[in-house]
Amino acid sequence: MDQATFVTLSYAISSLVISGLALWIFLSARNAKAKVDQLEKQR
């Protein structure tokens, strides 16, 4: 592999992991909030 490939791989993997982590955290928060709202409505 040439130097540019190592750089591209590093940035691509980092972008994927950080975006995935951010998406997972924001979706977890949204789902947890929705669950609380649903339970409070049922009560």
């Binding site: 592999m1 130097q3 540019a4 190592f6 750089v7 791989l9 590093s10 940035y11 993997i13 980092s14 992991v17 950080i18 982590l21 951010a22 997972w24 955290i25 924001f26 977890s28 928060a29 947890a32 909030k33 669950k35 609380v36 339970l39 409070e40 049922q42 009560r43």
Partner: protein, 252 residues
């Protein structure tokens, strides 16, 4: 400052409802500048000149070094949260410690991956068992172990105390990571920016310092946005569990 003043100061932020209101306001203040700074930092990192020795691979430094800083900063925050759980019994301390885990694990994994991808063209190998690399791998394993503790122990209070004790024991690894390049003969280079004194006369030229600091500040702000959001998710999740149990008791 007296204990009473400290306790009353901490108690003001011990109310999860108050935290939820405050964090709702703070998250966009961290997230928006984070995205802007990371985007600008990436542009700077790709317009910086190639290094006369390392060539294009020097660009890996602009993300590898911030990941390393954040991996350690996250663990430092978790260590303070562990003290908050065990000593001050702050209601949000356990939430803060648990919410930081996946973020810290991700930053540590990225530090190891980008370091490995930088090592191959620079050192000729993806991995060596030197003190710096091994101690960062140990940090990653501690993060995984703490996640496992939270998943394995059903009693949240017990899990919080067990995780806090392991976090405090594991914090001995932080100075080992920091000083490993001085204490042992390692393939990993010593820190180029290790103190404020060194910052005044850094080993790096400004065209490398700017992208490095821009991405580092951007990722730090992103950490706080993600951490606060993860804490909010954990608080809602616990509230949902509590409501479910209460409704099940009322139904039974």
């Amino acid at each position: 400052m007296s204990d009473a003043v400290i306790n009353s100061g901490l108690a003001a932020y011990a109310n999860p409802a108050r935290f939820m209101r405050l964090s709702q306001t703070l998250v966009p203040f961290f997230a928006l500048p984070a995205v802007a700074l990371i985007a600008y930092g990436l542009w700077l990192s790709f317009t910086a000149p190639a290094d006369y020795q390392q060539g294009e691979t020097v660009r890996i430094m602009f993300i590898h070094v911030p990941f390393a800083w954040l991996a350690m900063m996250t663990y430092s925050i978790m260590t303070i949260a562990a003290l908050g759980t065990l000593v001050w019994r702050h209601p949000l301390a356990d939430v803060a410690g648990k919410a930081a885990l996946p973020i810290g694990a991700a930053f540590t994994a990225l530090c190891l991956i980008t370091g490995s991808l930088w090592g191959r063209p620079t050192w000729g190998t993806y991995w060596v068992w030197d003190a710096r690399l091994t101690s960062v791998l140990v940090l990653f394993l501690i993060y995984l172990g703490l996640i496992a503790i939270h998943r394995a122990i059903e009693d949240k209070g017990l899990a919080a105390r067990a995780a806090a004790i392991v976090t405090l024991v594991g914090s001995i690894n932080l100075p080992i990571i920091k000083y490993s390049v001085q204490w042992w003969n390692t393939l990993h280079q010593p820190a180029s920016i290790s103190s404020l004194k060194r910052l005044a006369n850094p080993a790096l030229p400004p065209e490398y310092l700017w992208p490095l600091f821009t991405i580092a500040i951007g990722l730090t702000l992103l950490f706080f946005a993600l951490h606060l959001t993860a804490m909010r998710a954990e608080i809602w999740s616990r509230k949902a569990d509590g409501l479910s149990r209460r409704m099940a008791r009322q139904a039974g």
